[in-house]
């Protein structure tokens, strides 16, 4: 069965580039692109939701 990939939405106008989501993602899905976050490796996402929970700025939304 094919693995269903999550959707990760970045709200760029809210992201303040604090690095929290990038640093604490257990599988290193995210990276910084300039001052805002970007998805680097969606396949690695284990849908733990920690990035969404920890983002202080409502800037990252994960739909598993």
């Amino acid at each position: 069965m094919e693995k269903k990939l999550p959707t990760i939405e970045i709200v760029e106008k809210y992201c303040k580039g604090c690095h929290i989501c990038v640093e604490f993602c257990p599988t290193k899905v995210l990276e910084m692109k300039g001052f805002v976050v970007a998805v680097k490796n969606l396949e690695a996402c284990i849908k733990c939701m920690q990035c969404e929970l920890r983002c202080p700025d409502f800037a990252i939304k994960v739909t598993p």
């Binding site: 690095h19 939701m49 920690q50 969404e52 929970l53 202080p56 409502f58 739909t63 598993p64």
Partner: protein
């Protein structure tokens, strides 16, 4: 599904004013999830704060809100609760607001055991005014007013609340984001005065003075010092050195103030 925070945020209010990596936003999101899990209605819920960065929180949430005077959230909130005992009253603010200028209001709200929930965001500093030390600043830490290190011991907010008579006391951290809503929801459901201390970070005025190179350093510190109460039971005093307990620390039943006050009204009317 991603959690829909938008329905609880006042239109046009984001992005919020907090600095990059400030934990206050993480706490606000936890409060919103707690409100959602309990199905609290906007018109039946009032969030009351004092002054400070943490106290800006009610401005963002779409429900009844009061942004009051420095340290006075508990006084205003008590007024709201006495006038409308059926209202869910939630207080929030910082360590400075709650334990310095507002320390007296805080301990007396605990003593009264009035059915409200107080979320106190402890970043160990007066963030808003540029990093003066607060009663929670640890010994030795640097603040704009203690450039050679703070000689005072810091308050333990949870112990202060328990000592003053709060009937529910819990502690979490901004790093442990998934736990915040659960602690707040349990606190709101508790009948009596409940206190939820969230260990927080202020990278802008505390972090940079105290050798935290980044927000991540501060988050890692929260991750390392926190020990869940259950895990602590199996640890030695030595292992617990420098650690901070998290989870529900105290929960007891005692007469609740608005109910006791209703009895006073009945007695007074009967005596007429």
């Amino acid at each position: 599904m991603a959690f829909d925070y938008d329905k609880y945020i006042r239109p046009g209010k984001l992005p919020h004013i907090w600095c990059p990596g400030c934990g206050h936003g993480i706490v606000m999101k936890g409060l919103i999830r707690a409100m959602d899990s309990l199905n609290l209605k906007k018109e039946d819920t009032c969030i009351v704060s004092g002054i400070g960065c943490a106290s800006r929180l009610p401005g963002y949430i779409d429900c009844c809100t009061l942004h009051t005077a420095h340290g006075r959230a508990a006084a205003f909130a008590t007024g709201v609760k006495m006038a409308k005992p059926e209202m869910n009253v939630i207080l929030c603010g910082g360590d400075g607001d709650g334990t310095a200028i507002g320390g007296n209001h805080f301990i007396h709200a605990c003593r009264r055991n009035i059915n409200m929930t107080y979320i106190i965001m402890n970043n160990y500093i007066y963030g808003m005014t540029g990093g003066q030390f607060s009663p929670c600043t640890p010994t030795g830490a640097k603040a704009s007013t203690t450039p050679y290190g703070n000689p005072d011991p810091g308050f333990d907010i949870a112990k202060l609340a328990i000592g003053a008579g709060a009937t529910f006391v819990a502690r979490g951290t901004a790093y442990h984001a998934a736990q915040i809503d659960k602690l707040i929801a349990e606190a709101i459901q508790h009948k009596g005065f409940s206190v939820v201390e969230i260990l927080d970070d202020c990278p802008t005025t505390y972090g940079r003075r105290n050798k935290y190179r980044s927000v991540i350093d501060m988050m890692n510190r929260l991750k390392e010092v926190a020990v869940p109460v259950k895990a602590a039971e199996k640890m030695t005093a030595e292992q617990l050195e420098g650690k901070v307990l998290t989870g529900v620390l105290h929960k007891v039943e005692k007469p609740e103030y608005t109910e006791e006050y209703a009895k006073v009204i009945q007695r007074a009317q009967a005596a007429k």
